[in-house]
């Protein structure tokens, strides 16, 4: 373990493909799965909470004049329909959003469907309890991960540096198969570094902070936080937007995990051991 940490601190260098390297320490692996679970629970229970007031306003108090998103049920020709209104543009979303699965085998006026929320049936009280419990799990797992990754040197390997910026576009071209070789890089390629840096140091902290700003007790203790975010309803909007961004990251992450050697990637996050492939380097 020490030797791999030392290697991680060295400059990037090419390594022989096929070599098994120890990539993730036990604390990093445990917290990765713990916060993956936490984010799943927070996502599903967050949609449950959203359903209690299925609209988002870019304002402090609720203000229909500044409504950015609304998901509701309506009636057309005597038939119930689901309607999503984004920036004033209405979309028909019957059966999926607005008028959808109620979590009990029927359909009803409900923003997000029961199969996607936690609990399934409309239940704000328990949705909040899931959300507030796993918010703590996320915060603790995130904190432990950062400390563990900093101590092992993993953090150094994937934090995006100014020197990585010119390599981002060539890497994108390689992903699009418009370039035969990726730019030379260390353990993580420049786009991985950009993604991990943004998610770990922007999305996750902002998700936590915007969530805290929704609490009237926190708002009373740290009033400038809510003001900075544009007000309480605005904080709710940011919280939702960050969730959507993180969902986008999750989709990309999952696709790439599957497409770039599913078993090898999974093993590295379960046992820690990763088999180097062509173009894989070692180091920052």
């Amino acid at each position: 373990m020490t030797s791999s940490a030392e290697r991680a601190r060295a400059q990037p260098r090419a390594a022989a493909p096929g070599t098994l390297v120890y990539r993730h320490g036990v604390a990093e692996r445990t917290t990765h799965w713990l916060w993956a679970l936490a984010l799943l629970v927070l996502f599903m229970s967050g949609l449950q909470i959203f359903n209690a007031a299925p609209y988002l306003d870019a304002s402090d108090k609720s203000d229909p004049q500044r409504r950015v998103l609304a998901i509701r049920a309506s009636t057309i020709d005597g038939q119930p329909v689901g309607v999503v209104t984004v920036f004033g543009h209405a979309l028909r979303t019957t059966h999926l959003l607005g008028y959808t699965d109620d979590g009990m085998g029927f359909e009803s006026a409900r923003a997000f469907p029961g199969w996607l929320t936690l609990p399934g049936p409309q239940d704000l009280a328990d949705g909040r309890r899931w959300h507030l419990l796993f918010a703590w799990v996320l915060v603790i797992a995130y904190g432990v991960y950062l400390i563990a990754a900093a101590r092992r040197g993993t953090l150094r390997e994937f934090v995006l540096r100014p020197s990585d910026l010119p390599k981002l576009w060539p890497m994108q071209l390689y992903y699009l198969r418009l370039r035969s070789e990726p730019p030379p890089h260390g353990t993580y390629n420049p786009m991985q570094k950009a993604a991990y840096t943004i998610v770990l140091f922007w999305f996750l902290p902002l998700l936590i902070v915007t969530g805290l700003a929704l609490s009237p007790g926190v708002d009373a203790s740290v009033p400038w936080l809510t003001v900075l975010l544009g007000g309480r309803q605005f904080a709710r909007l940011w919280h939702f937007v960050l969730m959507v961004l993180l969902l986008g990251y999750f989709g990309t992450h999952l696709t790439l995990v599957v497409c770039t050697g599913c078993w090898n990637n999974m093993r590295s996050m379960i046992t820690g051991w990763y088999r180097l492939k062509d173009h894989d380097g070692v180091g920052p």
């Binding site: 909470i49 959203f50 209690a52 007031a53 402090d60 108090k61 609720s62 979590g103 029961g114 199969w115 996607l116 936690l118 609990p119 399934g120 239940d123 704000l124 009280a125 328990d126 909040r128 309890r129 899931w130 507030l132 419990l133 918010a135 703590w136 929704l214 609490s215 009237p216 007790g217 926190v218 708002d219 009373a220 203790s221 740290v222 009033p223 809510t226 003001v227 309480r232 309803q233 709710r236 999952l254 696709t255 599957v258 497409c259 599913c262």
Partner: protein, 246 residues
């Protein structure tokens, strides 16, 4: 690669649609006590010492949103409302040395604090109102709580469809917060029946369901055990957190 994606997405959608019973079992089973376990932690971390933000009067919602249980329509409340609550008395009793029966003029004489604050509903929406009335702490002090008193319980005129009465409770620390009011006015006019006339609690450092409307009696008690569902409030008995600062 494509097969892997197909398998992964099929598993994900199967998992999501098939886990309804699992979600129910986790929510209502032995895990339920774990779910409510963060309340104490949140309370210790956040507490209620902070001061809710004050707004200019121009920020108020003239048509402050009405929600909660239906406005009481029983004979007693209707009779009180018809006479402009002339015969209304707020009872303060329980573990106190001097039980009180306070008329509206007596409550107004107990002090008047005007505060324009935001009301945050547990559902997610917010509205701003200007509230006016004596501090709860002042009114409780008039009754001189005994040393054993730990909570004040608010008994209200409203009942739900099944006849269950609304009630709420605060500990004496929360009750003593300088922004915790017994509101008599909303937006410079006496509270109307839909907004909780004649007296409603207003605690801007916690979610809206703590701010009980139509308060008829404040009882000081040593424990919330044995009171209705034991949760310390109407919504608390339906699984909402007693500490509603988050």
């Amino acid at each position: 690669m494509k097969r892997g994606l197909f398998v992964a997405s099929s598993l994900a959608s199967l998992g999501l649609s098939g886990c309804g019973p699992l979600k129910d079992a986790l929510t209502n089973g032995p895990f339920h006590s774990v779910l409510s376990g963060t309340e104490g932690l949140n309370r210790v971390v956040i507490d209620t010492r902070g001061m809710a933000r004050l707004y200019p009067d121009s920020a108020v919602d003239r048509n402050f949103r009405v929600n909660g249980l239906d406005t009481p329509s029983d004979d007693l409340y209707t009779r009180l409302a018809r006479s402009g609550f002339r015969d209304y008395r707020l009872i303060v009793d329980g573990l106190v040395d001097r039980p009180q029966k306070l008329s509206l003029p007596e409550l107004r004489a107990a002090g008047s604090l005007a505060q324009t604050t935001r009301h945050d509903c547990v559902e997610g929406w917010s509205a701003i109102g200007k509230w006016n009335g004596p501090r709860l702490g002042t009114v409780l002090a008039m009754a001189q709580p005994k040393a054993a008193a730990r909570y004040c319980v608010f008994r209200c005129f409203d009942r739900d469809a099944s006849g269950q009465p609304y009630y709420e409770s605060l500990d004496l620390h929360q009750a003593a917060h300088p922004q915790t009011l017994l509101a008599l006015d909303l937006n410079d006019a006496a509270l109307d029946p839909d907004h909780g006339a004649p007296v409603r609690l207003r605690i801007p450092t916690q979610l809206g369901y703590k701010s009980a409307k139509w308060v008829s009696r404040i009882e000081l008690v040593a424990t919330l055990d044995g009171l209705y569902g034991g949760g310390g409030g109407y919504w608390e008995d339906q699984n909402y957190d007693w500490y509603a600062g988050i």
